[in-house]
Symmetry: C2
Subunit: 401 residues, 2 copies
């Protein structure tokens, strides 16, 4: 394959996998949403109000004063010992700090998992729909990605079982999923783990949003029920700040050792300075005080968005769910509408969202859309939802009028 925009003769030959790499749809939409005055329900950006800037400023001063040379030096690929211990202690099952690998965001965890477990043509099972970033992280290893049916309670376990043969793993995001906001129910978790065990199917569990529950914590992680058959990915991006790029992976020992080798080859280690900052900020139960403030804010924002939708979307045949945590709400337009076509009309009215099609491994539902309720303010949510409803109303297909 030769890149299109280099004039021949060119000396470059791209790898076959480069054909599978594409600019993210979300990335392109986010460029549009940088327009001043545009209200965005598109991005997956945590509210900057939740970033503990003062705590980080104090941690910077302390870390550099106490051992600046150590914080700025090369460090072990596994991660900073005290941070690995803090992660092991945070998790609700018995985790040995030696199993904790600190990653450059949980996105890197997905890259490492794919490198270690996916050969060209390997089958990988994902939810329908699923996290776009996971599809992107897996793509360079050239898997056959197969979508498994899902409903409001999570994966359809019978469909999962039917598609398991030859699969290297199933990738699931059980809590307040990106993009749908849905949570896998307790009975579905039990059925999923039982089926995975019986069929010898490894589970890759991604849990960036699990701490952001509103009324009650979600059921226990899949990995807690099946630690030898699961890899667990976590992140500090939603409970502290994404700009530090710190996440973690927990895996069985033999898998951890391979993930570690892949990690070393990928970037030697995640920034030692950032790891020490987070370890410093986490001490004295900081998250126990901080995370409830994020939950309260996002809960209120969700309620504002639900109220605005009920007020503005009446009688047009738009459906949506009620997420019990996280950052996203999933909506579906009436028959005959296409959310990608709606987006340009919405942007004309100064509001943006992400069309759902990008989140499907195959056969996208063009009527779906993802709405973030955490980045825009309450006032913006009211104004933006009025504009979005107007765009829907003006573009309703004739048979739906």
């Amino acid at each position: 394959m030769k890149p299109d925009d280099l004039k021949p003769p060119t000396c470059w030959t791209l790898a076959r996998r480069a054909e599978r790499m594409n600019a993210s749809v979300i990335r392109e939409i986010l460029k549009v949403t940088e327009r001043p005055g545009l209200i965005s329900f598109a991005g997956g950006l945590p509210s900057p109000k939740t970033f503990p800037v003062d705590a980080f400023a104090q941690a910077c001063a302390e870390v550099l004063h106490e051992d600046g040379s150590g914080a700025l030096q090369y460090a072990a690929s596994e991660g900073y010992g005290p941070l690995r211990e803090a992660v092991a202690n945070m998790l609700p099952w018995d985790v040995d700090p030696a199993q904790v690998l600190i990653t450059t965001g949980s996105q890197q965890g997905l890259d490492l998992v794919a490198k270690v477990l996916v050969d060209s043509g390997s089958r990988v099972l994902v939810e329908t729909p699923t996290y776009l970033g996971a599809l992107q992280a897996f793509a360079p290893m050239e898997p056959e990605v197969v979508g498994v049916a899902a409903d409001a309670e999570g994966l359809d376990v019978a469909d999962l079982a039917a598609k398991t043969k030859g699969a290297r793993f199933v990738y699931v995001l059980p809590n307040f999923q990106n993009p749908t906001g849905r949570t896998t129910s307790e009975p579905r978790r039990q059925a999923l783990v039982q089926t995975a065990r019986e069929l010898g199917l490894p589970i890759v569990e991604d849990n960036p949003y699990g701490d952001l529950w509103f009324d009650a914590p979600p059921p226990a992680p899949l990995t807690a029920r099946n630690p030898q058959g699961s890899i667990y990915l976590g992140s500090f991006s939603k409970v502290l700040a994404p700009g530090l790029r710190l996440g973690y992976v927990i895996a069985p020992a033999a898998i951890t050792s391979k993930l570690l080798q892949a990690k070393q080859a990928a970037d030697l280690h995640s920034p030692s300075f950032n790891q020490r900052l987070v370890a410093k900020v986490l001490r004295d139960g900081f998250l126990d005080r901080h995370v409830p403030t994020i939950r309260a804010l996002y809960h209120a924002q969700r309620d504002t968005m639900l109220a605005a939708m009920e007020r503005e979307m009446q009688g047009m045949g738009v459906n949506w769910n009620v997420p019990e945590g996280g950052m996203f709400l999933w909506a579906r337009l009436p028959r005959g509408m296409d959310s990608a076509a709606l987006l340009s009309k919405a942007v004309e009215k100064n509001v943006a969202f992400v069309p759902g099609a990008a989140f499907y491994a195959s056969e996208p539902d063009p009527r779906t859309l993802r709405l973030s309720f955490v980045t825009a303010s309450a006032e913006q949510i009211d104004i933006g939802m009025k504009a979005l409803a107007a765009a829907v109303r003006e573009n309703l297909p004739s048979q739906a009028c």
Copy 2:
């Protein structure tokens, strides 16, 4: 492939590429060198004396005060605009900031280059010997790595031409190379670029050490002579601090767009906080004042090591080179000796180095060793070299006595 240390029955199947991943020899040696009292010439760690801790402390306070929310938020995969501009301005040829991709250390640049350019079985040419981390970064993409002969002036261009057919690129580290410390001469650079152009062979140029020259700057980069046929990798690890994990890649536009897509899939972006810190520290020509202090320190350390070697290694048939910059010196034991066997004897005498064999794509020279002159102090260099010479003396093969 099933991992050895998981008891069957196991549900896990590793990717084929996982067989090529191994714990780094250097990593294993570095564990030994953590022993208190051991003098290490092994690590490639910059001297912590060179880290501008105060400048970073001030930058942390300013960055978090001026726009803490922005510094802690998700950011563009390309990198922070002002940092990309600073990199473009630092380089000695005409670089558009749009060509600059900020990476999580230059190690990540190697991972992205391999993902975008290397298919399973693709030929990749490297120097003999070459940077171990590059071999590790390329390995997951399953290349056929072919070593090209080299002498004190750099790559043997005739051998390069003979091995070029089907190669995706040649990877070169022209300045104060890791592991040998050698610099590719001006005539050899001209011949290398001419041959690469004639044969349509892309060059991947890695330059982490180029600023660390002692008496005179090295000749112009290969990429400056052949920008459409080259990818250039740079790093802030040796001129500021490695613990921030920031490097950069410069490539032709069509390659940059693919590297960017691979970057986004790998870790979304490098830490926005760290990028703003470095952009802040770099302002007002900081490197123009700071880097000369690193050069002076490393120059003095090199001289100390050379003097110690001349004093201690007399008459044993050990050879070594005189690097004109960087961090490493390359030595060769007399015939019949093996540096890996010598290492355990040296460690008994409280001194460590890296056996050279790990740096060869094939047919290692077991007599070679890499010595870092920057991590140990001058006093430690004197003591350590005396101990190393004693270890050599006690283990000279009988025919050499």
